[in-house]
């Protein structure tokens, strides 16, 4: 009886880990893409200078900037959802793949030159992302939720 129960429990724990890993990956893709395209549109729509405080608000109503802001809101929301189960020290390196995508988008869409030094930097980032995302689980400590916590 106890052996069956233990095996069942191990199976459940395994399924739970697999579920969390899949969910984490899907969420990471949304976080990364919304950040890359949000930042790209923001820079694209930004004027050369913002002389007054009011210009900071006015610029938000330019269509390209507004779309960029919408994508960055999606980024904030999906990142908050991700952080509701995944560790910050996991999320930080894994979402850094966005830096690589920005460089590649620059090369493909804007025909920018990528120097050997930049390719080396891109390789280091990808290695860091691979180490953390493949080598460690998204969650280390048990979540402290709701009433159990102080705040």
């Amino acid at each position: 009886m106890t052996v069956t129960a233990t095996v069942e429990e191990a199976g459940r724990a395994h399924k739970e880990r697999a579920r969390l890993r899949w969910k984490t990956w899907i969420c990471v893709v949304v976080v990364v893409l919304s950040n890359v395209f949000g930042n790209f549109l923001l820079k694209w729509g930004m004027p050369r200078e913002l002389p007054g405080a009011l210009d900071y608000v006015a610029v938000l109503f330019r269509p390209v900037v507004a779309l960029g802001v919408l994508l960055l809101i999606l980024w904030l929301g999906s990142r908050m959802a991700l952080l509701s189960w995944a560790d910050l020290s996991y999320v930080l390196p894994v979402t850094a793949i966005g830096y690589v995508l920005v460089a590649i988008a620059g090369r493909v869409l804007l025909h920018e030159q990528i120097t050997a030094q930049r390719w080396a930097g891109i390789a280091l980032i990808m290695l860091g992302v691979a180490l953390v995302s493949v080598g460690t689980a998204p969650q280390t400590a048990r979540p402290k939720t709701g009433q159990a916590g102080i705040g």
């Binding site: 930042n39 790209f40 923001l42 820079k43 930004m46 004027p47 050369r48 200078e49 913002l50 900071y56 610029v59 960055l72 904030l76 990142r79 908050m80 959802a81 952080l83 509701s84 189960w85 560790d87 910050l88 020290s89 996991y90 999320v91 930080l92 390196p93 850094a96 830096y99 920005v102 460089a103 030094q117 930049r118 080396a120 930097g121 891109i122 390789a123 280091l124 980032i125 990808m126 290695l127 860091g128 992302v129 180490l131 953390v132 080598g135 460690t136 280390t140 400590a141 979540p143 402290k144 939720t145 709701g146 916590g149 705040g151």
Partner: protein, 120 residues
């Protein structure tokens, strides 16, 4: 001006993201992604002090970033902001009590070095 804006942005981002991670973990795992459930989660998060403080810090960071984009290139602004990775990984260990193992330290270090190479 460039370095002042960058300093404000890095400090505000670091504080904001650590508060956000603390607040969201307190809230618990979001499992239901239907619009109604998301709406209810947002209402609950609006009363979560950690999350409210984090949004305020991120707003400061966002406007500092807008200012930075006007005086510098995107290829300086985005990589330079990666300085937050080093600060936040340290805070994740000592403030958020995450188990930051050797792989995570190595990964964060590689990312910071890589971002420096890309931006210089």
């Amino acid at each position: 001006m460039k370095w002042v804006l960058l300093g404000i942005m890095v400090a505000a981002t670091t504080v904001g993201e650590v508060l956000q991670a603390r607040g969201m973990r307190r809230h618990g795992e979001i499992r239901d992604f239907r619009p109604g459930a998301i709406g209810r989660a947002v209402l609950r998060l609006a009363r979560n002090g950690w999350v409210v403080a984090s949004v305020a810090a991120m707003a400061v960071s966002f406007f500092a970033y807008l200012g930075l984009l006007t005086v510098s290139e995107l290829s300086f602004a985005v990589p330079a902001s990666a300085a937050t990775y080093a600060f936040e990984t340290v805070l994740a260990k000592y403030v958020l009590d995450e188990r930051v193992n050797g792989l995570r330290w190595a990964g964060a270090t590689l990312v910071v070095c890589g971002v420096a190479l890309v931006s210089l």
